[in-house]
């Protein structure tokens, strides 16, 4: 935990835009990691965790802040061309920040096993069995072409769980409407130093560090919001 605090990219501070727009804007920062870089070994190496958090996630945060600054200027100037041309960078870096923030909480050194309670009931209802769900999420995630994420999502319209994937850093909720519960990052940087091209081995092993408490919390929150 101490190690991760040292790598927080920027402190939050209010930033005022000029010309009548007085809403202060906070800069995005790296979230704290709740475990040390080596905590998920042997499933995910300390080397990967350190690079993934301090380089990849940090870069998304930096570039998101830069893009939002440019976006604020463009909006202030009424420059529609620029606001539109910044959309891909916003989606990519914003998505990257959102996805990785969820991912770190989905993992835990004391994770693994199977969920219990309402989440397990919902999994059985919607997939037939936990084994079926695990097979489906694993196979779908392994089959992603190029870079992307496998997701267990909650559909707020029908209250059902769904397995799906997103390309690159496309964020789940804005692009599909599903609430993200559990994500598996299969960009090569998430596993390459340890597993090389054998993505199936990485996806098989990651089940040993899934933080079901966190996934359950997300599920409970999503369900409650649906009821309101």
């Amino acid at each position: 935990m101490l190690a991760s605090r040292l790598f927080t990219v920027a402190r939050a501070f209010p930033k005022h835009a000029a010309l009548g727009c007085l809403v202060p804007r906070l800069k995005h920062t790296l979230p704290d990691l709740c475990y040390d870089f080596n905590a998920l070994e042997p499933v995910i190496s300390a080397e990967i965790m350190k690079l993934h958090y301090t380089k990849h996630h940090a870069t998304y945060v930096n570039n998101l802040n830069i893009t939002e600054d440019k976006m604020a200027d463009a909006l202030k100037n009424g420059d529609i061309n620029t606001t539109i041309s910044l959309q891909p960078a916003l989606k990519f870096n914003g998505g990257g920040h959102l996805n990785h923030t969820i991912f770190w909480t989905n993992l835990s050194p004391s994770g693994g096993g199977e969920p219990t309670g309402d989440l397990m009931t919902a999994i059985r209802d919607d997939f037939g069995s936990f084994e079926n769900f695990k097979k489906e999420l694993s196979a779908t995630t392994i089959a992603i072409q190029g870079s992307g994420w496998g997701w267990l999502g909650f559909n707020p319209v029908n209250g059902m769980l769904k397995v799906t994937t997103c390309a690159n850093q496309d964020p789940l909720e804005p692009t599909t409407g599903l609430v993200p519960l559990l994500g598996i990052d299969v960009w090569e940087h998430a596993y390459y130093l340890q597993y090389k091209n054998v993505r199936p081995d990485y996806v098989k092993e990651i089940w040993n560090v899934i933080n079901w408490e966190n996934v359950t919390e997300r599920f409970a929150k999503a369900r409650m919001e649906k009821l309101q």
Partner: protein, 258 residues
């Protein structure tokens, strides 16, 4: 002498001068029952110190080999499924040029795996450890100057595209399709996602960089810019001109057939 004949003479000169091994992309223009993993024109450590042995080895025997296996399996399944489909018995080039005509149940698998097979063959084919071929030369270099103003302007643009590509993909220098038997079509820089290829857009690629993370992660981790630098140091401009000539040879055949 007809300009294309000059080109063919030059092409045969290059063939004599080269090591004699065929380029990794040879064979993609002809139908085969099954396609082999193309041989690299160099040893696994042949691109050192720029691209490390471990990366070249896993890139070739892991990634490129997997595309080869999966492509052959998908082609076999397609052929067995419909013995009358002539596209399934065409060259890989024709398949890539006609993706929309592949039956939908095979299309994604073939787009990804034929793409992966061909893209990697072209990537390997533009590189070498041969220090003698580092200077841009020949028709491609001349045409680069014409289109981009200078080689450094071209290199800057190409590098910027490679650095900013989101996710997995490639950056390409290609010729647009030939409309004339004599004039060389203009060069254009494009990018593609995943294993998509400009061949499917009717372009003829002469230079390509792979910016999937597996192309550089073992050596450079997140620092893609360093990989781009390594790649520039390995581009073999003679090989690029050979590839350019190879496309022209096929275009000549097309014109002769018409």
């Amino acid at each position: 002498m007809h300009p294309v004949c000059i080109l063919l003479v030059l092409l045969s000169c290059f063939s004599v001068v080269s090591s004699g091994t065929s380029a990794p992309y040879h064979g993609i223009e002809k139908y085969a029952e099954e396609y082999p993993l193309p041989k690299l024109p160099y040893a696994y450590d042949g691109l050192e110190p720029h691209i490390d042995r471990a990366t070249v080895k896993v890139h070739h025997t892991g990634h490129h080999a997997a595309y080869t296996t999966n492509m052959n399996a998908a082609l076999k399944e397609w052929k067995n499924d419909d013995t009358s489909d002539s596209l399934s018995r065409s060259s890989l080039l024709r398949i890539l040029q006609n993706l929309q005509d592949i039956p939908v149940q095979y299309r994604t698998k073939l787009r990804n795996n034929v793409g992966g097979y061909v893209n990697h063959a072209l990537y390997w084919g533009c590189l070498s450890g041969n220090q003698g071929n580092r200077t841009p030369t020949g028709t491609v270099a001349a045409d680069i100057n014409t289109v981009f103003g200078s080689f450094s302007a071209f290199r800057e643009k190409f590098t910027a595209e490679a650095a900013s590509l989101f996710g997995s993909g490639y950056v390409w220098l290609s010729r647009q399709s030939s409309t004339s038997a004599t004039a060389k079509p203009p060069l254009v820089i494009t990018t593609s996602q995943n294993q998509d290829t400009p061949i499917s857009e009717g372009l003829r690629p002469v230079l390509v960089i792979d910016v999937w993370e597996h192309a550089y992660y073992l050596k450079h981790q997140n620092l893609r810019a360093k990989h781009i630098g390594d790649w520039w140091a390995l581009v073999d401009w003679e090989a690029v001109n050979v590839l350019d000539g190879w496309w022209a040879k096929m275009d000549v055949k097309v014109h002769e057939d018409l």
